[in-house]
Symmetry: none
Subunit: 221 residues, 2 copies
DNA sequence: AAAAAATTTGAAAATTTTGTGAAAATTTAT
DNA sequence: ATAAATTTTCACAAAATTTTCAAATTTTTT
């Protein structure tokens, strides 16, 4: 999860950033609209946290200037009780709204909630590979591939964290649950089966030595 | 889809309307309870979006004054944190509520969700399989199949959620009720009977291992 | 180049989950 | 009240999945 924070006050940015890092969110911070726009141009973010009151280009102006196809779920930070802000913001299609002063915990909660309701993909496609999370199915070349539950879980998790190395411990704790006392290497066996089942897509699962595995979207060098 | 919006604030109405139009919903707006009642009298709406706090006749009063046969799925707009509102509203049979300030995107999402769960069809057909949800009948090859009530409920639920894996817990909570302390496996037995009764359509009920079951529309390769 | 470390792999063992028939319990109809 | 129908429980078999383990392989380090 990658978050862009735009606020002119450094203190606020730092607080938010700190909390985000605890949650393992990737964070980029900008202090004005212009540099924020540049960042949005270059990188892909999941969520935008945006202060309304900023010198030069304010939050609304920024929103208006984001090209349509680059718009992302946005949480607005604004001064308390500013009804006018709210309405304006709504018209521009913001997704949530929190008034200053706010508790960083609440902001985090809202970020999570927002990402959950916007980034809930039902289907993931990569060329002819297609995962339907609702149906619990994997298709390759339009043919159903039968995955075991664990294989499906692992694949889902890797894809949720695509392009990110996921450790064995992480997999174990997320997919097996808190107290698992089995062999680390169990995962390897599942990965083996998973790779076999992925057929020609098998090398999208990369082993990251001494860490774990990652699912890559683009077969890189 | 036709929506009636009742709110005394013009700005809010406009925002909602705009978003609804993007979704191709038909919209009618009223600014008070009285004119809303008249509109409900005259036209047929699919969903009512209703502000609680209004001068003269408030939202609750409006709900109470809608004749029983004219009542429609309702989403309440209420001031944040007003717990009392929520409860009162629920007792009157509202279907969802959202607190102000709200994101219009979320409202749209809720409207869609609500319409999905209330506007269910009366009849479902798949080749020569035909379910009449009103009559509670199942026909295959034009022959009546006698299902027990539970079997019919399960089949209905699976079909309402066709192509989605449904967990045993979900089935239990939806079909048996909140607090059921029986055996999970009861469901399996019902599924067994259901499959037998479905005859040649038996393999439209797929078991999703470690989850539950799903009804698939297309027998996939 | 050898040793060490980490991963892959195949096969077997252990475990879990599901299908099914029959009986018991409960509800509904006669 | 009795019979019939429905629902639930249960246990065992069957099927599928998960785990273990050790040898083989690959990669990294010394």
């Amino acid at each position: 999860m990658k978050i862009l924070i735009v606020d002119d006050e450094e203190k606020i940015r730092n607080v938010i950033k700190e909390y985000c890092l605890v949650e393992n969110f990737e964070v980029e911070e900008k202090e004005d609209g212009k540099s924020a726009l540049e960042a949005l141009e270059k990188e892909k973010f999941d969520i935008l946290v945006l202060d309304i009151m900023m010198p030069k280009m304010d939050g609304f102006a920024l929103l208006e200037n984001i090209p349509k196809e680059k718009r992302i779920p946005t949480i607005i930070l604004s001064a308390r009780g500013d009804e006018y802000d709210k309405l304006q913001g709504f018209e521009l299609g913001i997704d949530d709204y929190i008034t200053k002063p706010f508790s960083p915990k609440e902001l985090i909660a809202r970020i999570k909630a927002l990402s959950k309701r916007t980034n809930h993909q039902d289907i993931y496609k990569l060329n002819t590979l297609e995962i339907d999370f609702l149906q619990h199915t994997l298709k390759i070349d339009n043919k159903l591939i039968n995955l075991t539950p664990k294989e499906f879980e692992i694949l889902s998790y890797l894809i949720e964290n695509k392009n990110i190395a996921v450790s064995r411990e992480q997999l174990l704790s997320k997919l097996w649950g808190y107290s698992y006392f089995g062999d680390d290497r169990t995962i390897d066996t599942h990965i083996k089966m998973l790779r076999n089942n992925l057929g020609k897509y098998r090398n999208h699962i990369i082993t990251v030595r001494s860490i774990g595995y990652k699912f890559i979207e683009n077969e890189e060098e």
